[in-house]
Amino acid sequence: MNSIIAVNPEKCVACGNCLASCSLVHEGAFSPARSRITPVQIRKLTMNFPTLCMQCRDPLCMDVCPVTAISRNEETGALIVNVDQCVGCRMCTVVCPLGGISINYENGKAMKCDLCDGDPVCVKACGYGALNYIEAERDALNKRLKGIEKISKILKKMVE
């Protein structure tokens, strides 16, 4: 189970706080073009959709990278681009179904949401509740399995 930033598009007003905070933290400047989260704005329907990497379980970006520059952070489950390894070939941007990975115009390398190492700034910056950080409960699966174990033992006894 990965941690994830859950998006509620109904609440997004495209204020741009997420763009500003993300680029500030990652690039040291308010630079919306260098934010890892971007809103798809459909003005005539007044719909806004913050778009970012969903940290896929079977990431296509990792499969197409010809220099193995994308790897998984085992703690947060985030997919991380190794900027020194990246050669800027853009193959990752061809396969991402969400547009969650893009190119940093400053250095020509791939950039994407890295969940800010477990404490995402965009979530804190959003004043409208459109972004929520859901942490991976590492033990969730084990807890469920333990619960099932108990019940199955009881059921077994009942059947016998």
Binding site: L45, D63, V87, C89, T93, V94, G99
Partner: protein, 415 residues
């Protein structure tokens, strides 16, 4: 449990390290005729041009193999496979296996012409090839073949100040990736850097005393000190073909099913050496690209350990960097549909140029020249087999967009 992998490319290491991830106490061995740890063949050109240090090409260090307890037999040729005794014959040794994964890759296709063995004639497949080209210091090169490898070699050598003439048999460069229009745009970029391009031309022979001095085509003679043979790749199936029961595909690759199993129990195969079903067309074919090899290697690894993952199919995405301009081709070009009606959506934008190929109103391919960034939308439409009418219909549909907001980005390509 002995797992042996023959081949240390992306398919081989994906298989080997997937096995290790699943099972800590299996013995995993990689045998490779090359002496180095695994590297990316895709970026050899960046090393040749001097843009990248040689040690950045490697994607594994010897330490990575040791850390994961993957035994390596590097620089060792496999002489044969004994399927009855389940042993690999390797340099006088016999290596036993319980499960075998063939990841033997591909070899450059070398046209049978005179002078092919002269000093100064190279292929560009391995790091050894790249080292030899760098050491040779080409001043005037002829590149035979204008597929991605030929183009990358051309750009890399031109960056070093080498004079280049590019010979292509078909009527346009990058013939498998681009239609004539976009191909001409790319040819123009080569021309801007004083690269000579000769299409519809065939190389006849290479002349020289002890080294390359000139090349003759069916139209001209070109003096040069270097020839790069980039005329295509063929699957390396020498070991597989020696096994009578090994089923081969119609295109020369090893036939495998969706679990990467060959016709021989206990033997799997993955990467450039196999034929698989293509994701969108269902055609069984070779699809010798990095991501296909990696995915197939993972699937082979899973299946050797009894985890029955199935390979969904191969897909084609290939790009080149032409002196800083990126160009990519996804899926099929229109020339693939010569006998069927197809539609083109073509646009020049301030970002670049793109051409979408539609057949039966379905997205079948896209070619993009320029700094693309959101082609995933088109790729997804190809995968999902969304008819173009469906996408056109989203404009103004709040209901459709709230179900799949990213369709809006795809809609802009059609607009």
């Amino acid at each position: 449990m002995d797992i042996v992998v023959i081949g240390n490319g992306i398919a081989g290491i994906s298989a080997a390290f997937t096995v290790r991830k699943l099972k800590q106490n299996a013995k995993v061995t990689i045998i490779s005729k090359e002496p180095t740890p695994a590297y990316s063949a895709c970026i050899l050109a960046n090393y040749i041009s001097g843009e990248m240090e040689r040690d950045r090409i490697f994607i594994k260090s010897m330490g990575d193999y040791l850390k994961e307890n993957v035994v390596t037999e590097l620089g060792k040729e496999v002489d044969g496979i004994d399927i009855d005794e389940m042993k690999i014959h390797m340099s006088g040794k016999k290596v036993p296996y319980d499960q075998l994964i063939l990841a033997t890759g591909s070899l450059p296709l070398i046209p049978r012409i005179e002078g092919g063995g002269l000093k100064g004639v190279f292929t560009l497949k391995t790091i050894e090839d790249a080292d030899r080209i760098v050491a040779h210091k080409p001043k005037k090169a002829v590149v035979v073949g204008s597929g991605p490898i030929g183009i990358e070699a051309t750009v890399a050598l031109r960056r070093l100040g080498c004079e280049i003439d590019l010979i292509e048999l078909l009527d346009r460069i990058l013939p498998n990736l681009f239609d004539k229009g976009p191909s001409s745009l790319i040819q123009g970029m080569l021309g801007e850097q004083a690269v000579g391009v000769f299409t519809g031309e065939k190389i006849l022979n290479i002349f020289g005393e002890d080294r390359v001095q000139n090349v003759t085509t069916d139209r001209r003679k070109i003096s040069c000190d270097t020839v790069i043979m980039a005329a295509g790749m063929i699957p390396d199936t020498r070991l597989a073909k020696e096994i009578p029961a090994m089923e081969m595909g119609s295109r020369g690759g090893i036939r495998v099913n969706k679990k990467m199993k060959t016709s021989i129990p206990g033997i799997f195969a993955c990467g450039d050496c196999v034929e698989t079903e293509e994701l969108f067309s269902g055609e069984e074919r070779l699809n010798m690209l990095w991501h296909n090899a990696k995915q197939q290697g993972d699937i082979a690894g899973y299946n050797t350990m009894g985890v029955e993952k199935r390979y969904p199919g191969s897909f084609s995405i290939a790009g080149v960097d032409v002196f800083g301009t990126h160009a990519v081709s996804v899926g099929k070009t229109s020339s693939h549909f010569k006998d069927r009606p197809y539609d083109i959506i073509e646009k020049f934008t301030d970002r670049g140029y793109y051409r979408i190929v539609l057949v039966d109103r379905l997205f079948r391919g896209v070619q993009y020249i320029g700094p693309y960034e959101e082609l995933g939308m088109v790729f997804t439409a190809i995968r999902r087999k969304d008819p173009v009418e469906y996408i056109l219909g989203i404009d103004g549909s709040r209901e459709m967009l709230s179900r799949n907001p990213w369709l809006y980005r795809l809609h802009r390509y059609l607009g």
